[in-house]
Symmetry: none
Subunit: 119 residues, 2 copies
DNA sequence: ACACGTGTTCACACCCCGTTCACCGGCCGT
DNA sequence: ACGGCCGGTGAACGGGGTGTGAACACGTGT
């Protein structure tokens, strides 16, 4: 009933299979994402970040967890890479689908991926 | 067996497992609450307050008890933090589920959590 | 050597959080 | 009707987390 466990179709855990959440489809093997039918080209890091979030769609992913997932190590204090990349991905996604927000900040916790119309 | 002891599914006493009461689901570990399917982002304090109330759903929780649960100390006379945070949480919950009230005041005693349609 | 894309770091601006204050209204005893 | 206590509600404040543009370093292809 809840929005929590959405329709997330992943090819597998570590596999590069496409991930689909609402109007967003991610193709790790091709280095691109489709948002509302529009193609969005993403760099490696950007795509890994988006995938890590989309695989837990509807759930808040902690910053440390997110960092170790994408960067593969513990989050050093002062490292702002996550913020910068969240910003980059947000830009590209929202540019492809204006009026929608995809990555939501939960201060003190982390980020949550969920396509929602902007307030 | 009246309405007091409702269906409260907690992962455990001190655990961070999800709490569910009627159309409200609280995820302390994620800093997130779901109300009628809508995601409500809550701050740390807000979430702790809501959790403390929801874990005793249907029962009146005294102000001192509530304060020591959330703030972890005795309630100093003149401290209005509880009032302010009850207000904040009420706002967010009712914004996500208009026409319903969740936190009820029992003057001189405390607060009671129970989803009820507004009069 | 140069242009380009990527990933990291920096610096500054901004906003949110938690607390406290101020003011208001309702309820109760006198 | 008064004054007291209690709770509702908006706003101000300092501190810290986050947003965001730019500079920088590195690798690659031309």
């Amino acid at each position: 009933m809840s929005t929590e466990t959405r329709a997330v179709d992943a090819g597998g855990p570590g596999a590069g299979g496409p991930i689909r959440v609402a109007q967003v489809e991610i193709r790790p093997s091709e280095g691109l994402a489709l948002v509302a039918g529009r193609a969005v080209s993403l760099s490696v890091r950007e795509l890994e970040l988006l995938s890590a979030l989309a695989l837990r769609s509807g759930h808040v992913v902690a910053r440390d967890e997110l960092f170790s997932d994408v960067w593969g190590g513990p989050l050093r204090s002062g490292d702002r890479s996550i913020d910068v990349y969240v910003h980059k991905v947000r830009q590209k996604l929202e540019a492809a689908s204006p009026g929608w927000s995809f990555i939501h900040t939960h201060i003190g916790f982390g980020y949550r991926f969920a396509p929602e119309p902007m307030a």
